[in-house]
């Protein structure tokens, strides 16, 4: 495999890992409460701003501590999101909940500009501008870091869902909230926990992205669109689907941009999505929806 191909695949996987992290947030909330959280990309942006704008630039916290402080903040944010944005509209139509998340996204985008100003913030991250050589290919060290973190998170998440009671309750609520409630699970609390977890995931994505993307109010917009496409590609509601869909989309964009044309990246990526929807509407890992005649 040529060095160029390795560079392209790794860059694509890194971008894909970011899409996957955001897509996981979509999936968890969709499974738990049946709404698409269109603010997920902006929650990523909020995490990045908090970590860079306050933790690093203002409070001068060391790398790592900034991450922990930001994750604590994101957990509080997730609770506030569930309590003040989702809960008031949970019995309204699904459209109302979707509009509420869109509104939250706009509020977040403008709030960060008011707090941190309109200029993008730079962030060296834990690795600075370091590069690593992989089979002769020179790549930005942040890229493998993103992939490793995604892998560790997936293992931790799988462990939590399988081996802890809270994890099992979250899984049960995500699969069928009504049945879980009848089984004695406090679904309201578990739903709040899912919002917290999705926000923490978004915070990690934001922290990982900041050195690659810069921190700007619009940094989550494009990512959320790609992550949404990744969810559909992998199968909406499927956790492995979000993961594989994200990685696949990132690699398709990277290889398509090089071997076909950067002018057609979106055509290539969304063309693949279109073909997938025609051939397999439920996505790669999705299950066909059965409808009563």
């Amino acid at each position: 495999m040529s060095a160029t191909l390795i560079q392209l695949v790794l860059a694509g996987l890194a971008m894909g890992a970011v899409y996957a992290l955001v897509a996981l947030g979509y999936t968890l909330i969709w499974n738990a409460v049946g709404i698409v959280n269109f603010a997920q990309g902006d929650v990523v942006m909020l995490g990045a701003y908090f970590a860079v704008g306050w933790c690093v630039d203002t409070w001068h916290l060391p790398i790592g501590i900034d991450l922990l402080v930001m994750l604590a903040f994101m957990a509080v944010f997730g609770w506030a999101f569930a309590t003040f944005v989702y809960r008031p509209v949970r019995n309204a139509s699904q459209l109302s909940a979707i509009v509420a998340t869109l509104g939250l996204g706009m509020v977040l985008e403008n709030t960060v500009v008011l707090i941190w100003g309109p200029q993008s913030l730079g962030f060296a991250g834990p690795l600075g501008n370091a590069t690593v050589a992989v089979f002769g290919a020179r790549i930005y060290a942040q890229y493998p870091l993103i992939l490793v973190v995604l892998l560790l998170l997936m293992c931790a998440q799988e462990g939590m869902f399988r081996f802890t009671s809270i994890g099992r309750a979250m899984r049960a609520t995500a699969q069928d909230a009504e049945a879980a409630r009848l089984m004695g699970i406090k679904t309201q609390n578990i739903t709040t926990l899912i919002f917290i977890y999705a926000s923490v995931l978004a915070g990690i994505a934001g922290w990982l992205l900041a050195p690659v993307f810069y921190v700007s109010a619009d940094m989550g917009v494009r990512v959320s669109l790609e992550a949404f496409a990744a969810c559909i590609l992998g199968g909406f509601g499927s956790i492995p689907g979000a993961l594989i869909g994200g990685l696949l989309l990132g690699v398709i964009e990277s290889l398509g941009g090089f071997y076909i044309s950067s002018e057609y990246i979106d055509v290539i990526a969304f063309g693949v999505l279109f073909v997938t929807l025609v051939v397999r509407p439920e996505g790669i890992f999705g299950e066909p929806q059965m409808e009563r005649p």
């Binding site: 160029t4 560079q7 392209l8 860059a11 694509g12 890194a14 971008m15 985008e109 403008n110 500009v113 100003g117 309109p118 200029q119 993008s120 730079g122 501008n129 590069t131 020179r138 790549i139 930005y140 690659v212 993307f213 810069y214 700007s216 109010a217 619009d218 917009v221 494009r222 964009e253 990277s254 290889l255 398509g256 941009g257 090089f258 950067s262 002018e263």
Partner: protein
């Protein structure tokens, strides 16, 4: 027919620069005088509109634009206004290169605030849909949009107060061929009206020199990973790439170019000499060439006199947007002072008579295509400081 040549830094338009220093010092004196000694304008306010990116991705540019316009208007009013009438500013948010928001902002300024002249929109995709509105309401607008397409509409109400990209592209191409010795060139652009028309000008300039770009790439403002594009250029074996793009992509592209260890050069639009790029790219900015109208580190005496004036007002050094629109506001005030009537058509007619009017950035003269600026700079980033290597004139 215009002739273009490259001069050493600091030369060119010397007489008018002296006049400009005088203007700058007069402005400083005016701001230092006690309010009681200054003539206070008492007539009916002159409504001037400004469509700027006050929110969204380009809000910092809009904030600078607002600073420049506001400072000029304050100085004009402190000196007695125009024919005894104060300037009254109306700001509307055009959200940067957002055609819909720009149209809405312009409609509000033209129909509700009933402005007699407009400043902005700044971005090429934003000014284009506003152009018919200006003609419809007979109101002139001064814009810093550099896309050649802006003046190709042949709209008599549009006045460009920055270097036209067509001219800039010719000068940049000439520089990279003659001074940097590039022979194999790749091109890259942001896929907007600004990027497309700018890169078309670059292609035309290359064609005129008998060169065909050996690789062409494009990206969006939201593109974050340039690996595929940079590798394409490397594989094509370019000596350098010419890039026409906006702030964020410029920073990311150059940072990734250096990180991936690419050895080819990079030159591009004004973006590559401005604070957002320099701050985002950091040390990676080193060695990047650009064609520009203004750099903070320019040692020109007019710029040196302007810096403390702006710094006293806003606590930071002026940059391109603040300076461009400071000049634009002063040009409108000058035109209004010369106009037979302070109306849209009156100001428009007076703007077309402007010749060698000194400003901070350059000396302004109207040409029938609607261009007011006919000179620029080639700059190279040394570390994170852009340094002027050539002053260029049409």
């Amino acid at each position: 027919m215009t002739s273009r040549h490259l001069d050493a830094p600091g030369r060119g338009a010397r007489v008018s620069r002296r006049a400009a220093i005088g203007t700058g010092l007069a402005a400083v004196s005016a701001t230092l005088l006690p309010a009681t000694v200054r003539a206070q304008p008492s007539g009916e306010p002159i409504p001037i509109g400004c469509a700027a990116a006050l929110t969204a991705q380009f809000a910092q540019n809009g904030a600078w634009m607002k600073n420049g316009v506001s400072l000029a208007a304050k100085q004009i009013n402190d000196k007695g206004g125009v024919k005894g009438r104060p300037i009254q500013l109306f700001f509307e948010d055009d959200q940067g290169p957002n055609p819909t928001a720009a149209s809405n902002a312009a409609i509000k300024l033209l129909t509700q605030s009933k402005v007699v002249a407009m400043i902005g929109p700044h971005f090429t995709p934003a000014i284009l849909p506003v152009e018919p509105l200006l003609a419809q309401h007979s109101v002139p607008a001064l814009t810093g949009a550099t896309g050649p397409v802006v003046t190709q509409q042949h709209n008599d109400w549009v006045f460009r107060v920055r270097l036209n990209d067509t001219t800039g592209a010719v000068l940049l191409v000439k520089y990279v061929l003659q001074n940097l010795g590039w022979k194999k060139i790749g091109i890259d652009y942001v896929n907007t009206a600004f990027g497309q028309s700018g890169i078309d000008a670059v292609k035309a300039a290359l064609t005129a020199q008998g060169i065909t770009p050996i690789a062409t790439q494009t990206h969006l403002d939201s593109t974050k990973d340039f690996t595929a594009q940079l590798l394409t250029f490397q594989q094509a074996g370019v000596d350098g790439i010419i890039v026409w793009t906006d702030d964020q992509p410029s920073g990311l592209l150059v940072k990734q170019l250096k990180t991936l260890g690419m050895k080819y050069g990079i030159a591009g639009s004004t973006t590559f000499s401005q604070p957002p790029f320099l701050s985002l790219a950091g040390d990676a900015a080193d060695g990047t060439y650009s064609v520009t109208d203004f750099v903070q580190s320019n040692t020109d005496p007019t710029i040196a006199a302007w810096k403390p004036v702006y710094h006293a007002a806003y606590g930071e050094d002026p940059e391109l947007y603040a300076t461009t629109y400071y000049d634009a506001m002063n040009l409108i005030a000058f035109a209004a002072s010369q106009a037979s009537s302070i109306t849209g058509p009156g100001i428009r007619d007076a703007l077309t008579k402007i010749k060698d009017r000194p400003g901070i950035m350059t000396s302004y003269s109207w040409s029938p295509e609607g261009n007011m600026v006919h000179s620029g700079l080639i700059a190279v980033a040394k570390g994170t400081v852009p340094t002027v290597v050539a002053v260029i004139k049409e």
